[in-house]
Subunit: 309 residues, 2 copies
């Protein structure tokens, strides 16, 4: 599983940071997009992402810098031969926006499109994942998505099985399914030959928001939290007034939610290269395991290490 | 007057050609945009165009690759402090598209926006210009715009006036206004000291279309015709079926309309660098004074030379 940041700027595009979008690539190869600002499809041209592999798009909120790339991306996905269903989740209004854009532009998609308007605290079940929505504080409805991967069964230890004289075949399956077996008068239990279950990963991606305890609740214990940090520490009042967060506020959310890793994004274009090192330092002073996202950066999200038997 | 091509590709963006937009910069400094595909505002970041100087946007037709950049550009123009009125002309439907996008995204523009839905054969009067619309053939309503600059009064020849002993002052204004004057018993007529009127330039920018006699009519005698050439000469049937033109068809329009200059754009992404030389040659074989547009190319549109007195 890996996350690629396609747009990490705030409000308007700059030559360095495009408006918001991030792509979560699953182990299955499917890609889930989070937000789709204008020119997300252009950013994808330079990334190793295929439009037809995008199967879900999660919209955090309806500000233009998070949705104006949707109609074009939908059209291009069709133009390039995408045929599999695409599901878009987003706040109320997303359906009317997309339906009007597609109708007026006479865009006929050659794949099924499903648009689901979300609310606070709902649970979405996708193959191998559970996604929960959490309302944040951004003046308009803005959500975070908590993506939890299902637990995976532990690994069958082939060496150990060989030692015990168990040959590959239906017995393997019995053990995997949790049944004990008898072999030459010995009982072999699944726990003797199968490692512990592999915990699923948990990634929380927040939309624009002020510092909010709702974000803390949503992010509780996550492996990765992606949180906006539009402003530097000294702009706390400005951030509050405009329903955005500072670097330190993002770090405080990570701290209180006891996540393992924080990536900040949605950086105001007022900050230049030198400033960005400073932004990162501000966050790290509060929550050390912080990274700052740049456009086209990809971060691996590793499976959690588990003890071996 | 100059024209900058911001997007010269067809249908979907490629790394080399963005979707459609061209900017006509007037001598006054005002800029008129023709079409506004997705990421036009991004292209503008690398051009010497200021969003606040864009005062009119002319939309040829409502296909996504010609309009999906509008909502973002409108928002950014406001964000960057644009306060002057912006007028958008386009086919029926443009109003509903924009109003929905701005409403859903909660975009509040800090300047007056006027949206005018056009029809075939109407005349728009803008300071110093007359613009006429002409319906083309593209399956959906698609227009060309004929932009005619008003004739400008000839230059007052200061040397000649000095020779005749006329001093700068109210007499200059009388002559400019077409009145003859008497000085020391001599009659001085305006034509003695003012050059011939300077003819206005005429630029015709067509939206997507098949070969069409309507385009010929609209472009009659223009100084510059911008016409699509989505396909090469050998794809004539394909072009016809998809309501697009070939290189040769664009050149034929230029020829029949007896324009002075043709620039082709809206080039399919199937053509690579080597092919594009070939596309140009095909058009030039029919109409020699042809150029092919690339993104970020600017062409000067000079005043017509007039005889001096
Ligand atoms: Zn926002
Ligand atoms: Zn078209």
């Amino acid at each position: 599983m890996e996350i690629t940041f396609l747009g990490t700027g705030a409000g308007i595009p700059s030559t360095k940071r495009n408006v918001s979008s991030a792509a979560l690539r699953l182990d299955s190869g499917d890609t889930w997009l989070f937000d789709c600002g204008e020119a997300t499809q252009h950013q994808i041209l330079s990334a190793s992402i295929t439009l037809s592999k995008i199967t879900k798009i999660f919209i955090t909120h309806l500000h233009g810098d998070h949705i104006f790339g949707l109609p074009g991306l939908l059209g291009s996905r069709s133009f390039q031969g995408g045929q599999s269903e695409l599901v878009i989740y987003g706040p109320k209004g997303i359906k009317s926006f997309l339906e009007t854009a597609l109708r007026v532009s006479n865009t006929h998609l050659r794949y099924p499109l499903r648009i689901e308007e979300i609310e606070d605290g709902i649970e979405l079940n996708e193959k191998g994942f559970t996604i929960r929505t959490g309302l944040l504080e951004h003046g308009i409805e803005s959500y975070g998505y908590r993506v939890e991967e299902d637990e995976k069964p532990g690994t069958l230890h082939a060496d150990k099985l060989m030692q015990l004289g168990v040959k590959p075949g239906p017995i393997y399956k019995k053990l995997k399914d949790g049944e004990s077996i008898e072999l030459d008068g010995h009982i072999i239990r699944p726990t003797d030959v199968i490692g512990p279950a592999i915990k699923g990963r948990c990634v929380v991606i927040c939309g624009d928001t002020r510092y909010s305890n709702r974000a803390v609740d949503l992010a509780k214990g996550a492996d990765l939290l992606v949180h906006e940090a539009t402003f530097s520490q000294d702009k706390q009042t400005l951030a509050h007034d405009y329903y955005h967060s500072t670097t330190v506020e993002a770090a405080r959310v990570a701290n209180r939610a006891e996540v393992s890793w924080l990536i900040v994004n949605h950086i105001s274009s007022r900050y230049q290269d030198e400033d960005e090192r400073q932004l990162l330092n501000e966050a790290r002073a509060v929550y050390p395991n912080t990274d700052i996202a740049f456009d086209q950066m990809t971060f691996q999200i590793p499976l959690k290490k588990t003890g071996s038997i």
